[in-house]
Symmetry: C2
Subunit: 478 residues, 2 copies
């Protein structure tokens, strides 16, 4: 299918361009925002995570536009628009929370109706989650999608809209929908393919994030070695982060050609090892959505078989990019001062390893000890010990998967120095507290738990609990 070069030719204008929105920031440097942080306000320690250039997939155009969804937000972009010059294959993974936000329901139904094909764009607002907003909220989410659809040649396939809708922010408040609808044409006019366009969009989806999260890369597929494919993704955290999934939004776009029927399994596999393997605070939100769009603009052979080499190569690239995005969310965990990898090995099953890693990752006592740089490994073992027990009222589960006398715990320093053994086969080591303190001084740390009962393993990424976490979440709505 033919590529078009400019948004003007790609998308017949519906309205006159609006005045471009102010980009000036009124917020103090380094402070957390409840809408997107601007370039000048990224904390110095986090600036290294913000790319200064990128390689972006062909045929995709993006923008970040100011709406003012939150009355307190006077200038920062809070509406992101991602559009493909041609219809895409698309798939998404949504939260399992029983209270699904309106945009989750609307987007899920749209993808189902379209069998994951013919998708043109993604429209995202920050500042309000449009969750638990009743029937009115459903109508708002539908209007957002329809307004974005109007920017394109309306498809006559009778399958309705072709836009994925996402919202993030406070739960239980209605969207200022008219303000958003009025700005979507401006968001369309602002579309572009430059690095700054991608960065603006990444900023616009942020809430309490301190920096925009954007990653891009090139890759190739075995059957078309001469073609340089591209993949780019953006995501946001930074609280309510826990598998299935969190107030976490993600958009990944690629110009590789993938059969719509395969894209969902590719994304689900990638998310399980990335966004579903991180935890900030154990809360699982109402809005989580990670979407992938593939427009095939780079040409080459479409991936049509799960058993093909191309499928495996694409899966690896997608999983890697999703993992790098997920790690950025942990890096920016609310109040986080530490980035902690939790690896559980020698497990009878991957599921057991994952459950244990997840339990350690969400233990407030482990997370506060990490914040305090306290080698309180007893808390790690304690969390391991209750990770598989039954709830009160249910029969006692004897947890044969954990054998105390075979369990070992170590700190793996990130400076390449040898592991510090804390517990070996259930017997505590005499810990060199000075060495432990040195290891805990680093921002990064790996906690290794060996179960001694198998060959499976799982990895989780988490952060610590700091005073700032309490401050941020004690006054989120104010």
């Amino acid at each position: 299918m033919a590529l078009r070069s400019s948004p003007a030719s790609a998308f017949p204008r519906l309205i006159r361009p609006t005045a471009s929105q102010s980009q000036s920031s009124s917020s103090a440097s380094g402070l957390r925002h409840y809408s997107a942080p601007l370039a000048g306000t990224v904390p110095p320690a986090k600036q290294k995570y913000v790319p200064t250039s990128g390689t972006y997939p062909k045929g995709f155009l993006v923008s970040g536009t100011y709406v003012g969804v939150k009355p307190a937000n006077k200038s920062t972009p809070d509406l992101a628009f991602l559009a493909s010059e041609t219809p895409c294959a698309a798939a998404a993974v949504f939260t399992k929370n029983k209270f699904q936000a309106a945009p989750v329901t609307v987007s899920r139904e749209m993808l189902k109706r379209r069998n994951n094909s013919g998708i043109r764009s993604v429209i995202v607002n920050s500042g309000c989650a449009n969750a638990v907003t009743g029937k009115g909220g459903m109508e708002d989410a539908e209007k957002m999608g329809m307004q974005a659809d109007k920017c394109f040649d309306a498809p006559n396939d009778g399958k309705g809209g072709s836009t994925i809708v996402m919202s993030t922010g406070v739960i239980g408040q209605r969207l200022p929908i008219q303000k958003i609808l009025n700005k979507i044409p401006a968001a369309y006019d602002a579309l572009g393919a430059s690095h700054n366009h991608w960065l603006d969009a990444a900023r616009a989806i942020c809430t309490t994030d301190t920096f925009p999260k954007l990653i891009s890369r090139t890759f190739s597929l075995p059957s078309s070695p001469s073609i340089e494919y591209r993949m780019a993704g953006m995501t946001k955290g930074a609280g309510m982060i826990h598998p299935n999934m969190a107030t976490l939004l993600g958009m990944i776009a690629t110009d590789a050609p993938v059969a719509p029927a395969l894209l969902q399994s590719l994304l689900t596999n990638a998310v399980n090892k990335s966004f579903n393997s991180i935890s900030i605070d154990g809360d699982t939100s109402t809005n989580d959505t990670v979407a992938v769009l593939a427009n095939g603009a780079a040409g080459g052979n479409e991936i049509t078989s799960e058993s093909s080499e191309d499928y495996a190569a694409f899966q690896n690239t997608l999983t890697e990019l999703a993992t790098d995005l997920a790690k950025l969310v942990v890096r920016d965990g609310e109040g986080a001062t530490k980035f902690v990898t939790i690896r559980v090995t020698e497990s009878p099953s991957e599921l057991v390893a994952r459950k244990i890693a997840s339990t350690i990752a969400r233990s407030p006592l482990v997370k506060t000890a990490l914040y305090g740089k306290d080698a309180n490994w007893g808390r790690i073992l304690c969390a391991t010990g209750y990770s598989l027990i039954s709830e009160p009222g249910l029969p006692i589960n004897n947890v044969p998967e954990i054998l105390p006398e075979k369990t070992s715990v170590s700190f793996i320093p990130t400076d390449g120095s040898p592991e510090l053994k804390l517990l070996v086969n259930g017997e505590p080591e005499t810990v060199d507290e000075v060495r432990a303190a040195q290891i805990l001084e680093h921002e990064d740390l790996e906690i290794l738990v060996r179960l001694g009962g198998g060959t499976e393993e799982a990895v989780y990424w988490t952060c610590d609990y700091s005073h700032e976490y309490i401050t941020i979440n004690g006054d989120y709505r104010t």
Copy 2:
């Protein structure tokens, strides 16, 4: 069985009395201790929870003695001794944590060996949990029990020890066992039945608690209306508090006569509705033990049938006392500024209601919002929405037990004013924020979640997350 009047006659001395231990405090008023708080240091706001008198069960003698289990502890009692003048029926509920502390294993085996009868005492140290201490830790716990046993006429029934052993404090460190053994005779010499003796013992089991937790009451049994029975209990928190159960120790003593075979089910029922219905931080420790001892010293008819009126009456008294003790643990939750009752009603099952209440109770976002006095009910609903979902890697659970369009959330003020409806049948109410702020100003609050899908309910008690929680747990071991 004949009662004896004084410890001297009841317990042949094995050694000379030691000099009585110092009771002076070196700690600043209101600060958290890592061993027992002394009278002068209870925060003013908590003093109302410390009784100035009590009615204690006949035939029980207690003491609180200074050992210095933690080197930093120079004067505060950290060894509690509870003894009965005559052998007791006894039962205990222990943590489900797979890494059971040595005293948990030793006490469980002792009660099993004795079929819950012939128990003489409970010995407890604070300052070190004797958990994950390997074979040496097991020997230490056994020695503690044997040293306490030496205070009594050694039973010749070939069933070994008759003392329940408990420890609480840091995990993964060995006990200074010789210091403890040397002090047990002094703890024996210090035994007494006065209110101050009970208060000293309650102080001695504390760790980060800011006040000793002691409750006593009188009750009667239908078959012996003329007899005044007595029950007294003490407990300690204050972190790692979550069902099954937490670094939580409890001792309950009564002079009512209960058949040993019935005491375990009576205690298990009581604990499920009390200590297993509170959450401070969702962590479940290695040491949790709640024990009940019944010596029958008040006479009357022994409770021998689960279908008797006496059984029901005793169950009510035991459950009430355990619930009041559990609530004191929440009142003293680390850094807690709020006492929050979470009631989930109109549930298809008690288990579902309990799981939802438990999930809300441990949500960091709910707990930080409560600390911030923020009526962020969306977080309550969000926690409800993910309370029953499946773990990553497991099949998606559709959670038919929760019907968003039938779910309602309200704040129930503790000042008797009408409930504040936040969500009604899935539709958000226009919340009077001023009224909400007034309600959140109170220390006590009830969150009511109506599922609209049944008649079962469950209640949970929890507290908020404050900056102090982070401070306390960031440097626990220092």
